[in-house]
């Protein structure tokens, strides 16, 4: 299992892992199931849309009726190859579908069509950023195409189990990492990276609630310096990053307890229970199926040539790492800011639309997008795509800060009004008479009035109590109803208050 990537790299194992595991080195590998965003299923023409009435999106092929045959969806192949290109992975020039045989009521054919010996995506890698800012390369073992099973519904029927086969045949890309991850935090960083990537290249909607992006974690511990891997457990079907972190942390502690009490970890599949924040045994290795994999005789091998690969490469969007680098270089953004903006394609696209014509500085755009806009999205539980203020509207607002028409403070109030659909920044500025006062004469008369009204404070200031400047700024700003240009106001006050 060990690869060149699996030994601790020079960036080392994070401090948290040490703290969590004490005498033990934590070794984690993830298997991620990303549901591919095709409109029809991987081997049939039925729709993949989520949330339909049970069994309304299952055709004869999905039901596994006698005599039906699978036909591969080209889109699924395209998406898998795009993933390979995005992760610098080998592309299986000849990949083969295999049958994974086991009985379960929501598996209509009694086998799942997957890939075994010859997957469509081979070795690749992604880079993650650790908590201390260091970078670490995580190896991808492989990624293969397969069909999803249906769903068993145990609660709705008295003493019976209902089967919904709408999900049966939904295309999945199973992405398997090397055991290169050394802490729960690293595992989450890696999962987030893959999540961002699949959304970036448009092959998965990444919706974890709907099960479009699911993680299984293989967790084991070994003594520091030990070469061979310890016995692992597989924690299944964790459907949020937070749960992933907690499930792994629980499992690390549990295994450490087992090992420290002198017992052996049992190789088994465990299920994470979010309500009780624990993992529970699901089935042990002894109970595991012999899946009797063999090449599916109903499907031909998938042959992929250079021309096809190059056509997909040409159509690939700029990837997050390259984009972040461009942001650092062209926009002089920090590593952190560039990382946040590019972690999601919609965010990066939004950001670039704001700064596109050069009237809004990248730093200002970043502060407002990552700060004000995201705060409001979180508050209202909205996606950026559903934001009431789109990129051009935000740019319209920020341009008015840049040209000193309004202050930042006024702009925040305006953003609230724009959020509520009350109009564009310029309309609101006009209607509310919010244009910043930059006329020196107007400001001077306001300042004069403040000085006149507060002779005591003026005397104290002139006697050396510099801190009182803020008092005068506040008074004058209030007099201007917040519209005074703060920098200008400061400067004028200083002049007028000079002893």
């Amino acid at each position: 299992m060990a690869s060149e990537n699996s030994s601790p790299s020079s960036t080392g194992t994070s401090a948290t892992a040490n703290a969590q595991s004490g005498a033990w080195e934590v070794v984690i590998g993830l298997e991620i199931h990303a549901q591919l965003a095709t409109s029809s299923k991987i081997f049939s023409a039925a729709s993949t849309a989520f949330g339909a009435e049970p069994n309304t999106q299952a055709c004869a092929v999905d039901l596994g009726l006698p005599g039906v045959l699978p036909v591969l969806n080209r889109e699924a192949v395209r998406m898998a190859v795009c993933f390979a290109l995005a992760t610098d992975a080998e592309i299986g020039r000849r990949s083969v579908f295999a049958r994974k045989n086991y009985f379960y009521p929501d598996l209509p054919k009694g086998y799942q069509i997957s890939q075994m010996a010859l997957p469509i995506v081979g070795r690749g890698k992604v880079e993650i950023v650790l908590e201390d800012g260091q970078k670490k390369s995580i190896g991808l073992t492989r990624a293969h195409l397969e069909e999803d099973a249906g769903k068993s519904l145990h609660d709705e029927f008295n003493d019976m189990t209902g089967i919904d086969l709408n999900r049966a045949g939904t295309p999945l890309l199973e992405i398997v990492s090397e055991p290169d991850l050394r802490s729960a935090a690293e595992a989450v960083a890696y999962a987030r990276k893959i999540h961002a990537l699949v959304r970036y290249i448009g092959i998965c909607d990444g919706n974890m609630q709907e099960g479009s992006f699911r993680c299984d974690a293989n967790v084991s511990l070994r003594r520091w310096g030990q070469q061979e891997l310890g016995t692992r457990t597989e924690v299944k079907n964790v459907n949020s990053f937070r749960f992933l972190e907690r499930a792994i942390e629980f499992e690390i502690e549990r295994q450490a307890d087992v090992l420290e009490s002198g017992q052996a970890v049992i190789q088994e599949t465990r299920l994470y229970d979010a309500d009780r924040d624990e993992t529970r045994s699901m089935r042990s290795k002894e109970e595991a199926n012999d899946y009797r994999y063999f090449p599916d005789p109903d499907l031909l091998p998938v042959e992929i040539d250079d021309e096809y690969i190059e056509s997909l490469r040409a159509g690939l969007p700029e990837l997050p790492d390259a984009r972040a680098q461009r942001y650092r270089e062209d926009y002089a953004l920090s590593d952190y800011d560039a990382g946040v903006l590019t972690s999601d394609r919609a965010t990066a696209d939004y950001f670039e639309a704001v700064v596109t014509d050069g009237r809004v500085s990248p730093k200002l755009a970043n502060n407002w997008l990552a700060g004000e806009v995201f705060a409001r999205l979180n508050r209202d539980n909205l996606e950026l795509a559903d934001s009431p203020v789109d990129a051009s509207a935000l740019a319209g607002l920020l341009i008015r800060i840049e040209d000193n028409t309004i202050s930042g403070k006024i702009a925040k109030q305006l953003l609230d009004d724009m959020w509520a659909g009350k109009g564009s920044a310029d309309d609101l500025i006009e209607a509310g008479g919010l244009r910043q006062i930059t006329d020196t004469g107007a400001l001077e008369s306001m300042i004069d009035a403040v000085i006149e009204e507060n002779p005591g404070q003026v005397a104290e200031y002139r006697a050396g109590k510099d801190k009182l400047l803020g008092f005068f700024v506040g008074k004058a700003m209030k007099a201007s109803q917040g519209k005074a240009n703060p920098a200008q106001l400061n400067e004028l006050l200083r002049q007028k208050l000079k002893p």
Binding site: G64, P66, G67, N101, K109, D290, F294, P297
Partner: protein, 494 residues
């Protein structure tokens, strides 16, 4: 009229000397009279058949015939093997498992033949899930051979063969995984062709062994098979293993080739390995004289070798059960088919539904196949069998570098007596000794009657290279123009 072959029936329909409805009623009457004893049919669709015939008659009247509009099957009554899904009609596959299964869709073959205007008289009996060489493995009972009721018609397309031989219909569909068209054709005195793998869509044909299964026609002559094949063949986007290649005008090619020295220059190979232990001497003699007949028509005969012939049966009985063990997993009592009474839990549901739904031979093959695919045995069995399969294909390619057609017996014996091999699976399996290799290699292969031995038909098998169906049909047709073995009728069904 019932003794007319398909071409003759088509001519009568064309000239309207008989209507499709009259013909359909005639055949239904024959089935009604004779099939109680023969048991060739699982389902007879009298009502819908008559309706289809009436529709056909209307179409014939409108078109002013059938042949002039190139619809030679318009109004022709046929029978489908019960392995093909037929919409609204029970599709049992010869199994208790599917005794209650009414398919919601038509197989591509059924659809194509319906589009060609055929009338479906009903669904033919077969070995359960096409596993068998005697039709004794049917949940719906054994089928008699029209030439001798006490003998088997062969299998697994035994019902189709018996129905055509008993003159219940001029043609029927069959499927061939290891000889299931050719062996019953040989036992019942018919002509049956298994085309190249991929020539006919498998969509809607209940899978036994997906990499070996291939549908084909069973009729009384090569010409009739050509007419049927032309309608059955073709690329189907619903079957990834079907081949996107134009369908030839098989029948026209036969007519064009009708001349005294039709086989001039045809190189026929006789594999040494076929004429060895296990072959009934009467069959060896019959095949040798048939080959002489082909020589007289201009063919050149030479000896060839298929050195891995002895590995065909062992390789087949790993590959076919392995695929079947997986293909039959969907019959679990959950969504369709047989479900046991009052299951106590999931495991009980599976065990009893499958235990009750499948017969002995099907269970035997599921067990063999499951074993062959198991961890630790896969390489030794399945992988090795696939390698042997390649060797067998290579043997054929070597032979086809020297000859155009390989000739030999279709079966080692004539039709055997019922119950004579049921307790000895291996001796039953050896009945497919000559037919299996064409499935393993995916080659087209035809069986045609070439003699009667002790009153029982003998089959001559011809195998050609990929997509060379027309050469097989031409060779068989030339032989049939000179001989009358294919026109012989079982005495009880004249």
């Amino acid at each position: 009229m019932h003794d007319k072959n398909l071409r003759e029936v088509a001519e009568h329909l064309d000239s309207r000397s008989i209507s499709s409805e009259e013909l359909t009623r005639l055949f239904l009457q024959r089935i009604d009279t004779h099939d109680a004893a023969l048991n060739s049919m699982i389902t007879v669709c009298a009502e819908s058949a008559i309706q289809q015939a009436q529709v056909a008659d209307k179409a014939i009247a409108e078109a002013g015939g059938t042949l002039s509009v190139n619809k030679p099957l318009l109004g022709v009554p046929i029978v489908h093997k019960d392995i093909f899904c037929t919409k609204g009609v029970k599709t049992s596959c010869g199994s208790r498992m599917l005794d209650n299964f009414v398919s919601p869709y038509d197989a591509t073959v059924v659809e194509k033949l319906a589009d060609a205007g055929t009338v479906m008289l009903g669904k033919a009996n077969m070995d359960e899930f096409a596993m068998g060489s005697s039709n004794e493995n049917s949940y719906f009972g054994a089928v008699g051979n029209p030439w001798d009721q006490n003998r088997v018609p062969g299998g697994s397309s035994g019902g189709s063969a018996a129905a055509v031989a008993a003159r219940f219909c001029p043609a029927a569909t069959g499927t061939d995984t290891g000889g299931s068209i050719r062996q019953p054709a040989a036992f019942c005195g018919l002509t049956g062709i298994k085309p190249t793998y991929g020539r006919i869509s498998r969509y809607g044909m209940i899978a036994f062994a997906s990499s070996l299964d291939q549908a084909g026609p069973m009729a009384r002559s090569a010409e009739d098979c050509a007419i049927m094949l032309e309608s059955m063949a073709g690329f189907d986007p619903r079957d990834s293993t079907s081949v996107d290649r134009p369908v030839e005008n098989y029948r026209q090619q036969l007519v064009d080739a009708e001349q005294p020295n039709a086989l001039q220059g045809l190189r026929i190979g006789l594999p040494e390995e076929y004429f060895a232990e296990g072959l009934d001497p009467a069959i060896a003699t019959a095949v040798e004289s048939a080959v002489k007949e082909l020589e007289a028509l201009g063919a050149v005969v030479k000896s060839v070798s298929l050195p891995n012939q002895h590995l065909c049966v062992p390789a087949y009985y790993v590959v076919a059960p392995a695929e079947c063990s997986s293909n039959l997993s969907r019959f679990d009592g959950v969504r369709f088919g047989h479900r046991c009474e009052s299951p106590v839990d999931l495991e009980d549901l599976y065990k009893r539904s499958r235990g009750e739904g499948f017969g002995r031979e099907v269970k035997r093959r599921i067990l063999i196949g499951t074993y062959a695919l198991s961890a630790g045995y896969y390489d030794a069995y399945y992988l090795k069998a696939q390698k042997v399969r390649q060797l067998i294909s290579d043997d054929f390619q070597q032979a086809f570098s020297e000859v155009d057609v390989i000739a030999g017996p279709a079966t080692p014996t004539t039709a055997f007596e019922k119950n004579s091999k049921t307790d000895d699976p291996v001796s039953m399996y050896l009945n497919d000794l000559y037919t299996i290799s064409a499935n393993l290699a995916g080659l087209p292969s035809i069986s045609l009657p070439c003699a009667l031995a002790d009153g029982l038909p003998v089959g001559l098998q011809l195998t050609a290279n990929y997509f060379d169906e027309s050469r097989l049909l031409k060779t068989a047709h030339s032989f049939q123009l000179q001989t009358d073995w294919h026109t012989q009728c079982p005495p009880d069904y004249v």
